[in-house]
Amino acid sequence: MWKRVLFVCLAVAISSFAQEGHPLSGTWTGDWGSGNGPRNHITLVMNWDGDKVTGVMNPGPDSVPLNVFVDYSTWTVRLDAESKDTTGKAVGIEADGKLENLGSPRRKLVGSWRQGGVTGDFKVTREQ
């Protein structure tokens, strides 16, 4: 029990440290899904290189490069990528989201997610 309490305390404590640079830079975790169907965990790692935001989805052996487009007038973000299904067939991913709680260290990116023929929603939170 105390381990769980400790984890919560540390998680909250760590979250109090901000990242005040480019709002998209960093690691974001959350999920996407459609309706009442299963939710699919996603991790997005994005970085501002001075000219553009680069990114990768689900880092590791199955990582997928992300193309990231940001409209700074509205803080809306478009992500697109090409993943593969279990048979190795290419599956396009398109997501349109909006940054919420922009000033918060644990800001969120929330919006719609289309993967293959499925349309749903997604929500990721910036980790620090």
């Binding site: 540390l10 005040e20 700074y72």
Partner: protein, 374 residues
């Protein structure tokens, strides 16, 4: 097992401490108060909090219906008040006071006083009654035996640097934008006069301005990295240690932090090799009477000035310190962050010498902001 529990308690305690840092925040005046909402309160003093950097008195105020509510009234900085002869016991529990001031933002029962009057005597209290110490007499800058300008006090003397001529860093251009001491622009359309922003940085700066600087990391007691360290209340001091090849910068504000400037001839550090930190890795050298300091290795956890100027880990600062006379420090900083700004740009200000005094003790975490916490 006992050790594990002790460990747990320690870490949990630290976690709670960090959380409390957020809620016992040091907010800028703009963030905390709405100057357009004037208020007059009359009530009975129930408590006086003589806490640096802001003193509060609490009063029970009766409304027209007879209900009593407790208000927190901020009325000044204890260090400044004491310099003017006021003490924590200048006001007693049970005294009846009349307060004029402005209301806090939101629903909190809190005000910032512009005037506190004792009803019994009509005496105004907590107002400046002693003339401030005049600036030190004009004199040349003190020097070390090797001829270098001393950035600290003359031999045998004491003092520190306080009272910056500007509390916000903006680019040195003829038509500087109007803004208050918290860095809030008088006209949001003046954003492009502040610095040569890249689009994302401009949008983020505008967001912070429109949010009245609410998310300022200073409000969470995080250190004032970058140029902001020389704009904080309570000043700073240089401790020169030529025998160790370094200069320490001690901060009176910003939680009594310090910063090390190496002046032992080592080469400037590559940003990629520096551990990212609030004050960066600094290497300095004297160019005539000017100390030129090159700093890289900044983290992205701070605003480098009031008002919300963003930066990235690519930030590279070149600072120039000179002391044309005993009483004046000139500070100039060139900001080079190609991920945030379209070009290098420069700003600067002067800072006045505070003679015959030492830096006062100040810890942000100790700063209660009672009304926001109840």
């Amino acid at each position: 097992m006992k050790l594990a529990r002790l460990h747990f308690m320690t870490i949990a305690g630290l976690a709670i401490f960090f959380v409390s840092m957020q809620t016992r925040a040091q907010r800028s005046f703009t963030t905390a108060y709405d100057s357009s909402r004037k208020v007059t309160l009359e009530g009975i003093v129930t408590k006086v909090d003589w806490v640096n950097p802001r003193a509060f008195l609490f009063i029970n105020v009766k409304d027209s219906g007879g209900s009593i509510s407790n208000w927190a009234v901020e009325f000044g900085n204890p260090l400044e008040l004491e310099k003017n002869g006021w003490k924590s016991n200048s006001l007693k529990i049970g005294d009846v006071v009349s307060v004029e001031g402005v209301l806090a933002r939101g629903e909190a029962r809190q005000a910032s006083a512009t005037s506190v009057v004792l009803k019994a005597s009509g005496r105004k209290i907590f107002t400046p009654v002693v003339a401030r110490r005049p600036p030190a007499a004009a004199a040349p800058a003190p020097r070390w035996p090797n001829g270098h300008v001393r950035l600290g006090p003359p031999p045998g003397g004491k003092g520190y640097w306080g009272t910056p001529s500007a509390k916000v860093l903006v680019e040195n251009i003829p038509a500087k934008p109007a803004m208050n001491d918290d860095g809030l622009l008088a006209n949001i359309a003046d954003i492009d006069k502040v610095a040569p922003f890249k689009p994302w940085a401009r949008a983020l700066y505008e967001f912070r301005q429109r949010a009245l600087l609410t998310d300022d990391p200073i409000a969470r007691c995080l250190p004032p990295g970058g140029p902001r360290q020389f704009q904080m209340p309570y000043g700073f001091q240089f401790v020169e240690q030529p025998e160790l090849g370094r200069i320490l910068v001690l901060h009176g504000g910003g939680n009594r932090n310090w910063r090390i400037i190496s002046i032992d001839g080592r080469p400037a550090v590559a940003a990629s090799e520096a551990v990212a930190s609030y004050y960066g890795t600094s290497v300095g050298k004297w160019e005539g009477d000017t100390l030129v300091v090159d700093s890289v290795g900044f983290n992205e956890k701070f605003w480098m000035t009031a008002g919300g100027l963003p930066h990235t880990e690519a930030l590279h600062l070149t600072e120039r310190f000179s002391r044309p006379n005993l009483n004046t420090l000139r500070y100039e900083v060139t900001v080079d962050d190609p991920r945030t700004y379209t070009r290098r740009w420069t700003g600067g200000w002067t800072i006045q010498w505070v003679p015959d005094e030492e830096l006062q003790e100040y810890f942000c975490e100790e700063n209660a902001d009672p009304a926001f916490n109840r």
